[in-house]
Amino acid sequence: MSVKEPYKFNLGRLLSPAEIVVERGNGTKTELIKKLVSAVCKQDPKLDGADILAQVLKREEGISTTLDTGLSIPHARLEEITDFKAALAVLPNAAQDPVNPNLSIKAMFLFLSPAKPVFFQRHLQILSSLAETFKPEFIDELAALGSPEEILARLKGHR
């Protein structure tokens, strides 16, 4: 697998307001993932929500996707998609990570990539950029915003 020129990542391009959830309840990580998968599938009805959920949860059984910054990035590489898909949940009341109870989840970014090898480098770049962007202060800022539209505007404005 060769090293390629970096892909210019733009958070705002990945999301629409319908793919942003402000979660004020006390759901578990799995429940949150279900909500985000459902949000993605609503935008593209051809997608099989159950299959995507199964693949994302299978990936969750491997190395943890929760970071100590408060961001969790459940993700999967799917044969059935040809472009990146994403959904974001912001949790003003943090959820506990099921694997490491010392970690709290304040934002969850569901990220789906095409499985073709040609997308792998971009897949990695986006994962890295998400981890770099969603630092504790930025997540707190997003949590303080009331609506998906405001959150999206903030994301688009983020440098």
Partner: protein, 675 residues
């Protein structure tokens, strides 16, 4: 980025940093390695000629010269032995090639010779010093004459006692000191040679005869076997056997091999060549000049135990100048010979430790000194036995020399045979050096040269059995005794032995704890840094690949092990990944040694190895992060996690791209971080 930032509170970040240090991660250039060997091997120049003269008469310089040329072949044998990279010298080579029993025999015989080389060197140093005192006393008109025998015993005990304490304390002589000693000795040798040539020009010289005149005691039992006297070739082998003492210390090369810097194989060859040239000129050349300049009767009567002092005092010129030359010779001799006493203690202790690691010796031998961490029981035992030998010798170097050579010869025979066996056992293995004269047959090399060398060594060892009766009786008795001790000890230790054998060798390392990553990595000095993450001793392919290809002149290699924090609950696989880090770092150091490359081994405590890797790489300003593949998760999942961890810990713009590589047999995936 540092562990002292607020992020340090995170359960995933690095908790504690431990930098592993060991003497084995300091690599030395070939000339320093050669100096260490020569401090021991070169010291035989001070006694080998005198002892050979007493054994078979004025033909001795030819044979010392022949032995020094033969040393070239033995150095080539050591080169092939080292290229096998079997850590532990001749004992381990024989064990690998010929099995446990032969290895125990070789070790028993070698310990016997180590016990003798210390006293021979210590007593000889006493003779040189005593001789110098007597020269001064005579020069200034004192009638008092120092009894050299008694003085050399007292001096020998003093030197042995000094190095016994140093070894118990674990104080090692530096390679720089060895280099200075050799440089000084070389200067003395040069002065002696120049003055010798002037003396020859002024006084003339006699070419040493080739005819052998064996002293009755030098014939041993062979003197009673008539047919042996009739075969001329046997006489030459007998004389050669009496000159073998000049090889004392040559085996040190296999001990310093570990320390030689990159490129290891080429540097080892250079070191061997340097040793050969120096030994040929120093031991061979000076012995020859001594025989040319000093009248044979004077060697026999006065300078048998301090031949090079005799050379200094037989020069043409004023007495005071000769006395000054003798002083320089004695200083060089005392320093080199004392170094050889130390090497004999270090060598025998190391050998006994290798045997103990195989579970052959009981815990008593393995007992570690509370304060100094040395195997002090073994050191006490060896020093005590050497002291007894010195006392029993009464300062008679010839007697000690007569007892020597049994162990070293049989050990070389077994080592050569083991290397031949390993040519067949490990036939597909690539070696950096092969003893010359091989016939290629399909994919392996038939060792014709090695076979001839083994045959010659065997013939000298067998002839020595007859001629060196003291060595035969003492050597066989001691070897049988030590072999019996090993066997008995192994049986008594049977249960523990299995465990110890499984545990294998453990490198002695120091662990320096630091709370801050920056402090821990402050010694990095090269412009480029590569971080290699390691997890288990069995999966170090990626580290070996790195060491094979890295340029040590501009790159620091940091080897990182992230130890899961036990009191924090995290993923089950993280906890189960906890390994015996001592075993892991032993393997890591083994690879560093194999390539002669300095590395910085670091262990951190963290509940997330990927965070630890990202944090350390960021603080070290690494340009590359190299990981092995995890059988549990797969390379792509690993890559996903490391890029996430990198993003989470990244706090500033990068000065340069950082490449992450996950390497496994024949494959690699990579990703490059940019701003």
């Amino acid at each position: 980025m540092s562990s002292s930032t607020p992020s340090a509170q995170s359960p995933l970040r690095v908790k504690k940093v431990v930098v592993i240090t060991t003497a084995m991660l300091t690599f030395i250039p070939f000339w320093k390695a050669a100096a260490i060997v020569l401090c021991d091997f070169g010291s035989s120049a001070f006694y080998a000629g005198g002892l050979a003269m007493r054994a078979f008469g004025p033909a001795f310089p030819w044979y010392i010269l022949a032995v020094m040329l033969f040393a070239g072949l033995l150095l080539m044998l050591e080169l092939e032995a080292c290229s096998l990279f079997v850590r532990g010298g001749a004992y381990k080579i024989v064990r690998e090639g010929l099995g446990d029993r032969m290895a125990k025999l070789a070790a028993s015989a070698l310990v016997f010779d180590f016990l003798l080389t210390g006293p021979i060197s210590a007593v000889t140093a006493g003779h040189y010093l005593g001789g110098l005192f007597n020269s001064f006393l005579a020069q200034f008109g004192f009638s008092f004459h120092l009894p050299e025998g008694g003085f050399s015993v007292a001096f020998g005990l003093l030197v042995t006692g000094y190095f016994w304490r140093q070894n118990v304390k674990g104080i090692e002589e530096s390679s720089s000191k060895s280099a200075k000693i050799i440089a000084f000795s070389l200067a003395v040798c040069f002065l002696l040679a120049i003055w010798s040539f002037i003396t020859i020009a002024l006084q003339g010289a006699h070419v040493p005869p080739a005819k052998l005149h064996f002293a009755p005691d030098a014939l041993g039992w062979a003197g009673k076997i008539d047919w042996m006297k009739a075969v001329g070739l046997l006489g030459m082998i007998m004389a050669f056997g009496h000159s073998i003492l000049a090889l004392s210390g040559i085996e040190t090369l296999s001990q310093v091999y570990r320390e030689i810097e990159y490129p290891k194989a080429q540097n080892l060859k250079k070191a061997a060549l340097l040793i050969f040239i120096f030994a040929l000129l120093f031991t061979g050349g000076l012995t020859f000049l001594s025989a040319v300049i000093i009248p044979p009767d004077l060697i026999a009567s006065k300078y048998g135990d301090n031949l090079l002092s005799g050379l200094a005092m037989s020069m043409a010129g004023p007495n005071l100048l000769k006395l000054l030359m003798q002083t320089l010779v004695v200083v060089a001799g005392v320093v080199m010979l004392s170094g050889a006493v130390n090497t004999s203690l270090i060598g025998s202790n190391a050998l006994m430790n290798r045997i103990a690691e195989d579970g052959i010796l009981t815990d008593w031998f393995r007992k570690i000194h509370r304060k100094y961490g040395t195997t002090y029981h073994v050191i006490h035992l060896i020093a005590a036995l050497q002291a007894v030998i010195i006392l029993l010798s009464g300062g008679n170097v010839y007697l000690l020399g007569e007892a020597y050579a049994f162990g070293v010869m049989w050990c070389f025979v077994l080592e050569a045979a083991a290397i031949m066996a390993l040519r067949f056992k490990r036939r597909g293995e690539k070696r950096d050096f092969l003893f010359p004269l091989n016939v290629r047959y399909e994919n392996f090399y038939i060792p014709v040269g090695l076979g001839l060398l083994c045959l010659f060594l065997l013939s000298v060892a067998v002839v020595n059995l007859f001629t060196k009766s003291i060595a035969t009786v003492a050597g066989i008795s001691f070897t049988i005794f030590l072999y019996a001790v090993f066997t008995l000890s192994e049986r008594l230790n049977a249960k523990k032995a299995n465990t110890m054998f499984e545990e294998g060798y453990r490198e002695r390392v120091n662990a320096e704890t630091s709370l801050d990553l920056k402090d821990a990595l402050e010694d990095l000095s090269q412009p480029n840094r590569v971080l290699v993450a390691v997890k288990t001793p069995e999966h170090l392919y990626h580290l070996e690949e790195t060491l094979r290809t890295v340029n040590p002149d501009d790159t620091d290699v940091i080897v990182l092990y992230s130890k899961p924090v036990e009191n924090l609950l995290y993923r089950q696989d993280m906890r189960s990944a906890a390994v015996d880090e001592h075993e892991l770092f032993t393997q890591v150091i083994f690879l560093a040694e194999k390539y002669g490359l300095p590395i910085t081994p670091v262990m951190v405590q963290s509940n997330d190895a990927f965070y630890a890797i990202a944090q350390v790489a960021a603080v070290a300003d690494a340009k590359e992060i190299i990981m092995g593949v995890s059988g549990l998760h797969g390379a792509q999942t690993q890559m996903e996690r490391i890029v996430m961890a990198w993003g989470a810990v990244k706090e500033r713009e990068l000065n340069h791209p950082v490449k992450v590589r996950i390497i496994w047999e024949g494959r690699e995936i990579s990703y490059r971080f940019t701003n």
